[in-house]
Symmetry: C2
Subunit: 107 residues, 2 copies
């Protein structure tokens, strides 16, 4: 299993086609052909995108018989969601402190 | 005010130094010199990073007297957090459906 980093995940999803693949995978596992159909691109082109998602720890590709099945890995999403919500929470707490401070300054 | 896109925000934060700046700004507004100190880099180098954050709708720079003050813009963080948590929620709902389905299959 790949260790996700915020760098890797952010890089991987800074591409609209790759976000569409993540969106499709969030609905359940897919074959490479199904993913190629989602974007209307060739299998080699899908393979490149899937490799980026795999390297970021956002997806995993396994052979099941003659099919290659791609599954979402939630760890990468967790990492990104936690980073963004953590920053937002910190910022909101500061805004709230600031609002309290302004109230205290009122006569 | 800049309209954030997930592309822009993801690109902006796919850089450890820029994430550190976002972390500093989440604690409250900062001058350009304070931001330069956080990363231990020059003002022109900070300016480049701040421009990327501004273009992504993650920060805003204003002149206050002779100082340039940078403030976090929460909209960009909201967009990213919402995207990642939305994908995660969709994926978890599918996993939960799948688990229910397996239970129903049990004798």
């Amino acid at each position: 299993m790949v260790k996700s980093t915020v760098d890797g995940v952010a890089h991987a999803i800074a591409s609209a086609p790759r976000r569409r693949l993540v969106g499709r995978l969030a609905e359940g596992p897919a074959t490479m052909s199904e993913l190629a159909e989602v974007l209307g691109i060739t299998l080699p082109a899908i393979d490149k995108h899937v490799r980026v998602l795999e390297a970021a720890g956002l997806a995993r590709k396994r052979r099941v018989g003659r099919q290659a099945i791609v599954t979402l890995e939630a760890g990468g999403l967790d990492l990104l969601a936690d980073w963004a919500t953590g920053m937002r929470a910190m910022w909101r707490a500061r805004l709230s402190d600031f609002a309290d401070h302004l109230q205290e300054e009122q006569p």
